[in-house]
């Protein structure tokens, strides 16, 4: 189970989305997931090894690293990407449920009975609500994670030097973060794409409500 399989699962939702939904999916797969896998993961790969503190006291760099990076950006983005794309699975499951009901109805009442749904993929009735709820959930997840990032990492940026005075560090110790500029660039990129995705989801929700 990896990102490729997950992507395969989700591309099925493309059929039942609006135009905004397809743009959103393309944005998430190309500008968020792909950038995450091919670039961001490498930038953070040595973040603990190259977190250097100006002391020979064993344990000081571990403790300081843990204090300044409670949960690493990379793990937060992995969670965010998984949670943000899951609501689409709800839509896929709802359509599959409708198709299953249609099939059972045909089996029970014969081939020429009236159909339950004119088109199982059309967003009418229950599916409209599922789709709308999935949009609201996606926007909420992105906003929650943007807030979490803001709380953990002030201004979404990482400084070059952090001053740490937790035991067992003696007095105040300078600790240097590895690749801060590159990390800031990628963090900003991911924040901007997340904001665009939130706006897209909200616009799509308004469009859906307006269309009805």
């Amino acid at each position: 189970m990896n990102w490729g399989v997950f992507e395969g699962l989700l591309s099925g939702v493309n059929k039942y989305s609006t135009a905004f939904g397809r743009i959103w999916l393309a944005l998430v797969f190309i500008f968020r997931l792909l950038v995450y896998v091919v670039a961001a993961e490498r930038v953070w790969s040595d973040d603990h090894k190259d977190f250097d503190c100006n002391t020979r006291q064993p344990g000081c760099s571990n403790v300081c690293y843990d204090h300044f990076f409670p949960v690493s950006h990379i793990r937060l983005w992995a969670l965010q990407l998984i949670l943000v794309t899951c609501p689409s699975l709800l839509v896929i499951m709802h359509v599959a449920y409708r198709e299953d009901r249609e099939k059972k109805n045909r089996e029970k009442n014969g081939e020429n009975c009236p159909k339950l749904y004119s088109n199982t993929g059309k967003k009418h009735g229950g599916l409209w609500w599922t789709y709308l709820l999935s949009l609201v959930f996606k926007a909420t997840v992105d906003m929650v994670f943007l807030y979490i990032f803001y709380r953990f990492y002030r201004n979404y940026t990482l400084p070059r030097v952090v001053k740490c005075e937790l035991p067992p560090c003696p007095n105040v110790v300078d600790c240097f973060i590895s690749r801060p500029t590159e990390k800031n660039i990628f963090t900003l990129f991911m924040v901007v794409t997340a904001c665009i995705c939130v706006v897209l989801s909200l616009v799509e929700a308004i469009y859906l409500i307006g269309k009805r």
């Binding site: 189970m1 399989v5 571990n62 843990d66 949960v71 690493s72 793990r75 969670l79 998984i82 067992p168």
Partner: protein, 222 residues
């Protein structure tokens, strides 16, 4: 042989599961296996390298690491996921056995449509009901056992920053520092919460199956 192979095997069971069973399978693959592979493994990746003890005594760090982490969380989760998914194989085997029986009857002269046989969905009735119910029961048991093992081995679900070690050859008591304790605690609690959700789903499915059978029986007698 990797998680993908398990997914292929279990995907087949999906057809014969109840609605709740399908949700359980989705939660298992996305919120447990996928999180384990893409996130948790990298958090624990450097755990022994960055386990630092405040001593230059050779061997002390190794001994202390081994004392505090008899089995790493990652390996326990991998074992838990394997054990929790295997009862579904019982159902897959039962379905395969029934298909085999039907094929045998076809070969002995009965008229059966081969194509329909391949795609036939067996309803959860009779012996299959017992197999399915016992597989859910085993899943619940394995989840509970592993949750307890985690609690027992690591004295709760929180990873401390500092551990004091006095095993030989460490001189007296030595401070040892764990790498990324907060991140590890976060993921441990996340995996625990998802295990809990899976257990609730399994219990709900068990109740649903039992109630369905009791309701059918009461309809038959009235």
């Amino acid at each position: 042989m990797d998680w993908g192979a398990l997914q292929t095997v279990l995907g087949g069971v999906n057809k014969h599961s109840t609605g709740i069973g399908k949700i359980w399978l989705t939660v298992l693959f996305i919120f447990r296996i996928m999180i384990l592979v893409v996130a948790a493994e990298s958090v624990w990746g450097d755990e022994q390298q960055d386990f630092v003890c405040n001593t230059l005594q050779p061997g002390c760090r190794n001994v202390c690491y081994d004392h505090f982490f008899p089995i790493s969380h990652i390996r326990l989760w991998a074992l838990q996921l394997i054990f929790v998914s295997t009862p579904a194989l019982l159902v897959a085997m039962h379905v395969a056995y029934r298909r085999h029986e039907k094929k045998r009857r076809f070969r002995n002269g009965e008229k059966i449509d081969i194509e329909e046989l391949k795609n036939e969905k067996f309803h959860i009735r009779g012996p299959l009901w017992w197999t399915y119910t016992s597989s859910i029961f085993f899943r619940i048991a394995f989840e509970a056992i592993f949750m307890y093992v985690f609690y027992y081995m690591y004295d709760g679900y929180q990873m401390p920053r500092l551990m004091k070690c006095s095993a030989w050859p460490c001189p007296n008591t030595v401070d040892c520092f764990v790498s990324r304790p907060t991140e590890k605690t976060t993921f441990t609690i996340f995996m625990l919460a998802v295990s809990g959700i899976c257990m609730m789903l399994n219990l709900a499915e068990l109740c649903y199956l039992v109630i369905k059978v009791c309701w059918k029986d009461s309809r038959k007698t009235t």
